[in-house]
Assembly symmetry: C2
């Protein structure tokens, strides 16, 4: 359900800060960045807004990566790769599995509304830096 939202300075900062981060930050990381702009902002405000923005489809919440949720300014259909070594999260184009939903619905009796793919392994940088 879409939630009506009034303007707030804090939400604007939160959204902007997420845009600036190509990585897929956790709430914790975002909090450190956001406090540089608004030192008085509350952690509760951050969580409240991230959830709200995600529920309205303005940002994306990524679960299944380590312990905590990550947030993504990119709402286009795409998947994620997490490097086991450096823990960075990378985007993977959705066209790696074009027929996925159709095939899955065909094979099951489910109505699929969402899906997420999380790959993990070693990224190029870490592979080259050796010592694995």
């Amino acid at each position: 359900m879409v939630i009506s939202m009034n303007y707030s300075k804090q939400r604007e900062i939160i959204f902007d800060t997420l845009q600036e981060n190509v990585v897929h930050p956790t709430a914790e990381y975002l909090y450190t960045k956001i406090k540089e702009k608004d030192p008085k902002i509350s952690l509760a405000t951050l969580y409240r807004n991230l959830n709200q923005l995600a529920e309205n489809g303005i940002i994306k919440k990524i679960d299944g990566l380590e312990n905590s949720s990550h947030f993504d300014h990119n709402t286009h259909e795409h998947y994620h790769f997490i490097c086991k070594k450096c823990k960075r999260v990378f985007d993977i184009d959705a066209d790696v599995a074009p027929e996925l939903i159709r095939k899955t619905e065909e094979l099951t009796d489910f109505v699929i509304e969402n899906h997420d793919i999380v790959f993990s392994g070693i990224c190029k940088d870490c592979r080259q830096t050796g010592s694995n």
Copy 2:
């Protein structure tokens, strides 16, 4: 890394109980079941063993479903569907995306070691029971 394991009665009970559950239980749910067999077992022992078994590939840990981890006795390659209404977790055959790894590695510079797909939507039962 594979961890050396000595036998323990508790681990046996934990493993057996997971086998008996076709669903994909959380630690919390397993704990209630396991206490029926060994009322003195500690929650820490349960978590310790679930993690150990998962690290050794004997069971599978599923993240990205709601707040807590689920555990799966089925270690064959397969995916999961969670019903948004009844919250049950279902298995999806891996053949919905046969070329996924190869294509993804081809498109990226990553070495992919693992991947998970989580679908969500409405299951057959809930769709028929209406009222969505």
